[in-house]
Every structure is written in structure tokens, then in C-alpha cells.
Symmetry: C2
Subunit: 225 residues, 2 copies
């Protein structure tokens, strides 16, 4: 469902190039649960942003459901992302002027879901993401870090995407709330959602069936340190 | 050096009040290393923001170095914060238009440090916070999550503050980089800096000499769950 061939991402073309990802070859099947690990700065978010069609590779081919993303213009890229991918960002990226519930509804508005159904589903998803109902009307700056993270999780599930990308989904959560989130993600995977999770937390790799390690932009085989 | 007496913080006065902190009594001595733990939403950042003089209690008395902050106007609060406190924010709060190095220099500009000395010290602090020199000229959106966190750490140390507050300082770091940061903070504490660290990570409590637990806005004594 996701295939990378010789994918390279270079930031700052020119004098001080940064090879954030170098000749990555990765194949992910539908229904896989993949964890991506590596030190801070090793290229994890860069890899996830490419798979999430939020950015384009500098070189190489990336296919989602068999479609080569380099053949798509911006509208095509947005469409493939909206129809296939849910994204839980490392910094949440919630819209500051909207409440938690409104943030979760945004993807549903793009998918043209009727109002009443949107209202109901957004509250269900917030509950599923372990956020108490009383916080649904809070704006992001009226929520704790871990509460914002849970809103970001609920929002990523808005359109029940076939592929769910999570960048450090438990970074701001205490261990019990973190375990509830990992249980939720595991259940989604058991139900058929393809799951790709970036994490620093080794405990999370126990939930997954494959681990990809990055080191300085390179996908490690067994010879990495 | 920090004393809270019956400190309460209520958000949303009126119908849907939120008691984020309720009758907190805490005493921290100079040179202490205190960790604050508790579930997501339990009031940790609220407590740290009050100690950091970024916000005022709704009720109760908070003293920094013996000075009662409720006697201060906004300028007074800013002055006591600038002279005494370094703050590592949970969401980093870096200035997006400035480079990593410029972000670290900002507190030094307010302290009227000469240009050459500021330039040199900001680079030293970034190295101390385990960020490679090549990233000093990156803006926050050109840095990874954990790299931004290290810039936030270096910035908090700009004026060598007697009190250092850290809200989840290792949340976005891999375990090795996280350990380097905890070693740095421990060394600062051994050198006399009072350290107050909010964390979800039990391993960090091993570095500290006191742990405060929060549950739903209450400071726990031994009867908390
Ligand atoms: N400006 C605000 N307006 C309304 N409620 C707020 C505001 N800021 C925080 N809260 C609420 O106060 C409670 C405590 O928030 P706080 O940020 O202190 O929690 P925390 O312990 O730091 O959580 P986390 O571990 O998730 O960061 C939360 O329930 C939050 O929703
Ligand atoms: N827009 C950009 N311009 C320049 N360099 C960038 C940009 N975005 C990222 N980088 C660099 O690319 C490298 C990889 O960044 P990335 O965010 O993928 O790391 P990461 O593995 O997610 O790290 P972390 O665990 O700290 O979140 C970093 O060294 C970073 O400084
Ligand atoms: Mg990242
Ligand atoms: Mg917090």
C-alpha cells in the first residue's frame, strides 16, 4: 500500500545541503503495523511527511496504493492524502481558533459529511481518544499538551482512513493514557487500518510487526549501530 | 526559594469553572531538584506557569525568593521572572522568524549582554544542549522536534538562572539524547541551580531528591491513588 524506491529528501539545495533521507527503499503492505525509530534528527518526521503526501521527495519514487506521487500536481496530492491518510502530527498542528470538537470535524467537512452526523461522530472520536467530554469546547490554548495530542488523534480518525500515520503519538501522555492510545491504535490495526508510528518509546514497538530504524537519514539494515 | 500557600488556579470563572490547581501548599529550597508527576490534565503545566510567574494564582500566596508575587504588577512580575527563572516550555515556544542561535540570544539581549559575548555564549549553550553546530542557523520549522527542544533548553540557560523550570524536557528526545540532557540538568543542579522538572518519565525522578504528585489539581500526600 506504501512503496518507497530510492527516495531521497534534501533540504537547503545548494551550499549547505541536508540529506534528511537518503536512498530509502521501504515496502509496507496493507494492514501492517510498522514502527519507525531513530535518534532525534535522524529523518523520521521527514519520512512520515513524504508517506503522508505533505511533501515531495527530491529524488526517487513513492507510491500510495500503486499511484506514483511524482505524477501528481498539488491538487492530486491533496486528494490522495484526503482519501487515504490520517496524520497525527508531532506538534499536533491544531487550528488555534477552533474548539477541540471543531478541529475533529474539519476533515469531515471536506468529506461532505452532514452536520448532525459530524457533531455526533466528533464527540465519539474524542471519547475514543480518551479525552473527557467537558473539554470538547476548549480551544487548543485552553488544553494541556496531552489533551491537545488526544484531539490530534481523534481528528486523524475523522474519515476512518485506510492508512494512519502517527508521529510520536504518546510523547506528551502519562503511561496509562499512553497505553490507552496504543490499545486504540492496535484495535484499529486489527480492524484493517495500516499503521505507521514514529516513536522513541521501545514499549510501543511491542505492538507492531515491523520496525524500521533510521540513522542520519539512512534506513538501517542489520549493520547499523 | 519557592513557596506556595493555599494556591488555587481556576480557569473559566463562572459557570464551567475548571479548578486546574486546588489549595496547593509547596515549599522548595534553594538547590533542590524537584520532579512533578501526574496524569495528562492533572495541573502540572499550570503549577509550573505559576511558579514561573507567567500567570497569577486565582487565590493563595506564591513567593519567589521571599517576594509575594500578588504584590507585583505586570512589570514587576516580568522583572522577577527575568532575573530569577529560566523556562523550558512543553511546546518550546521558539520565535519562528529567528534562527536557533538568535532564539538563544533573546534573553541575553534583555540582560544587556554585549554582542560578541552573546554570539559566543549562545553557540556554547547550543553545544551544551547537545545540538550540532550546523543547525545554529536553522529556523524552528527547519528543525526536528527534538532539535527544537534542545534550542528551548539552551535558551532557558541563557542568563544562568538560579531557578530552572522544565516542562517535559525530554518528551521529544530519543533515550540517549534524553539522558545527555538529564545529565546536563543534574550538573547544573550540583552547581547550585534549583531545578523543577515536570515529567511523565519515571526514570527522570531518579535524578531528583523530591517528587510532587498531582492528581486532578490536588497535590497528593500519601493517600493519593
Ligand atoms: N486557558 C485555559 N482555559 C481553560 N482550561 C484550561 C486552560 N489551561 C489549562 N486548562 C485546563 O486545566 C487542566 C490542567 O491543565 P495543565 O496544562 O496544567 O495539565 P498538565 O498536567 O500539564 O497536562 P499534560 O501532561 O497533558 O501536559 C486541563 O484539564 C486543561 O484542560
Ligand atoms: N525545512 C527544513 N530545512 C532544513 N533542514 C530541515 C528541514 N526540516 C528538517 N530539517 C533537518 O532534517 C533532519 C531530519 O529532521 P526530522 O524532523 O525528519 O527528524 P526526526 O527524526 O523527526 O527528529 P525528532 O525525533 O527530533 O523529531 C534534521 O537534522 C533537521 O534539522
Ligand atoms: Mg520528528
Ligand atoms: Mg503540560
Amino acid at each position: 500500500i506504501v512503496e518507497l524506491r530510492d527516495v531521497t529528501k534534501i533540504y537547503r539545495p545548494g551550499a549547505n545541503q541536508i540529506h534528511a533521507l537518503n536512498m530509502a527503499n521501504i515496502s509496507i503492505d496493507q494492514g501492517d503495523f510498522v514502527t519507525i525509530m531513530g535518534s532525534s534528527g535522524s529523518g523520521k518526521s521527514t519520512l512520515l511527511n513524504l508517506i503522508g503526501c505533505l511533501d515531495r521527495p527530491t529524488h526517487g519514487t513513492l507510491r500510495i496504493n500503486g499511484i506514483d506521487t511524482s505524477t501528481l500536481n498539488d491538487d492530486g496530492l491533496t486528494a490522495i492524502r484526503r482519501d487515504n491518510i490520517g496524520f497525527i502530527f508531532q506538534q499536533f498542528n491544531l487550528i488555534p481558533t477552533l474548539t477541540a470538537q471543531e478541529n475533529v470535524e474539519i476533515p469531515m467537512i471536506f468529506a461532505r459529511m452532514p452536520l448532525a452526523e459530524r457533531h455526533e461522530r466528533s464527540l465519539e472520536l474524542l471519547t475514543l481518544a480518551d479525552l473527557e467530554a467537558e473539554f470538547a469546547d476548549h480551544k487548543p490554548n485552553e488544553l494541556s499538551g496531552g489533551q491537545q495530542q488526544r484531539v490530534a488523534i481523534a481528528r486523524a480518525l475523522a474519515n476512518d482512513p485506510p492508512i494512519l500515520l502517527a508521529d510520536e503519538p504518546t510523547g506528551n501522555l502519562d503511561s496509562r493514557t499512553g497505553q490507552n492510545i496504543m490499545k486504540l491504535l492496535s484495535e484499529l490495526n486489527t480492524g484493517g487500518t495500516t499503521l505507521i508510528v514514529v516513536t522513541h518509546d521501545k514499549k510501543i514497538t511491542e505492538y507492531s510487526n515491523t520496525t524500521i530504524r533510521l540513522q542520519d537519514g539512512e534506513v538501517c539494515d542489520e549493520y547499523c549501530e
